[in-house]
Symmetry: C2
Subunit: 230 residues, 2 copies
DNA sequence: GAGAAAAAGTAGCTGTAGCTACATATTTTA
DNA sequence: TAAAATATGTAGCTACAGCTACTTTTTCTC
């Protein structure tokens, strides 16, 4: 388990927990590490979920698939990120979403009960964990709101502009790499890949952006931001 | 304050709190009742929020407005419902959404700190409150996911079918009233009112539904459900 | 109950995103 | 390194939702 300490320490759930209590805490939480192959599913929409997950390595995507086979990527999770924490807090615990490994991945699964219920032992960190859970839930809420905002934008250019400006802000630079390929980005923005490619080319022709593969450069952030003022 | 007890008791936040501790609890939480007129704003997107709200009377809408004046209704809240509980749990506490009274309304505002921090007095119900907060956050998460699903549907008919089937399920009947007028429903589904009216008429002509004002009747739930299998 | 105001429905035109069907890259793997 | 598989870009056509400009209906208010 020690090999994962660095990743876990970055997880918001364990924020504020003193380092010397770490081993004890992980033991008390009774987490188990599971490995998933690329494309393997972790749980499906409709499944009853009783564990929260922490990504230890690889990348996980949270998605919805409809009956026609269209998939919509809701979120992409890197190591140290949590998932399913919203589901386990509900009464039914039925997941509205599917989670799948985008590449070979390792996940720490923790029974939800262990987090919220203080055990008999002298585990004073449970209070921290509960506080942290609330922060995570609140922040997930905000990120879902941002996703909603992206989807409510009407035009293709607006969606791309919003996504790229946000990515630029997160990276703190006008030049940045995005974590998604074209097909994945289209699924994330809930548009067709071909239409998206067409618009990206137009935006390049208009001198708004430059792009090569997953690398993007914002050439005129002002005009790009104006796209959103529709 | 006693006049609001019935509404408050139905609020998930106070679930499991014994009735005789109710007065004590409300005093300890230091909530204040505020009245809002129809159309009045409670807080704006970008505001720093430190109170959670409980709707006591009237209806509140959670929405986003873009610079062009288009508004998108994310949720409509009836009495006993909470709002802003996701925002106050985040680090920044900056609201991504605006909240507005749809009609004359009363709201109980509770400082978030009072909920999560045990006070010195013998308020053993704080533990219940924290557990309840998690449930609320988890459920808000699920409802945002359902909203996301609605928005990711491509066609007008799919969105309407999804909305109506859900409303029918919630009401436990094929005949039901929806809480939104046409303009509001269009804002909720993020479509134009005129296109929506057109499609509603088509669906009526196709024998899928019948409608008059806010009253809907699902005539052929099977075929209506098939609309979603695109 | 009459007039005003708001809400709901309708029609025609237009623009944009989706789709199919490719062409061209790029990466994988045998 | 060649061949296969995957990813990406392009073009033409089509369908559908948005918009404007109405009409009709319902609700409010005096």
């Amino acid at each position: 388990m020690e090999q994962y300490y660095d990743v876990l320490r970055k997880c918001v759930l364990f924020r504020g927990v003193e380092e010397n209590k770490f081993r004890n805490l992980l033991y008390c939480l009774d987490g188990q590490v599971k490995k998933y192959h690329e494309e393997e599913y972790i749980f499906f929409a409709g499944d009853k979920v009783s564990h929260v997950g922490v990504v230890l390595s690889g990348r996980i995507e949270i998605l919805k698939e409809n009956l026609a086979g269209n998939k919509h990527i809701i979120a992409v999770l890197d190591p140290s990120n949590m998932f399913a924490e919203g589901i386990v807090c509900t009464a039914s615990r039925l997941s509205p979403v599917t989670s799948q490994a985008m590449e070979d991945a390792e996940v720490l699964l923790i029974p939800y009960e262990r987090i919220i219920k203080s055990c008999g032992a002298a585990c004073d960190f449970h209070i921290s964990l509960i506080q942290n859970m609330m922060v995570i839930l609140g922040e997930k809420n905000v990120s879902l709101n941002w996703k909603l905002e992206l989807l409510t934008l009407k035009g293709m250019r607006e969606k791309l502009a919003s996504y790229l400006l946000n990515a630029s802000k997160e990276n703190g630079s006008n030049t940045f790499l995005i974590p998604l390929n074209r097909t994945e980005l289209a699924d994330f923005l809930n548009v067709s890949r071909t239409s998206m490619c067409r618009e990206l080319t137009r935006m390049k022709d208009d001198g708004l952006i430059d792009l090569y593969g997953r690398s993007f450069k914002i050439l005129d952030s002002e005009r790009l931001a104006e796209c959103l003022e529709t």
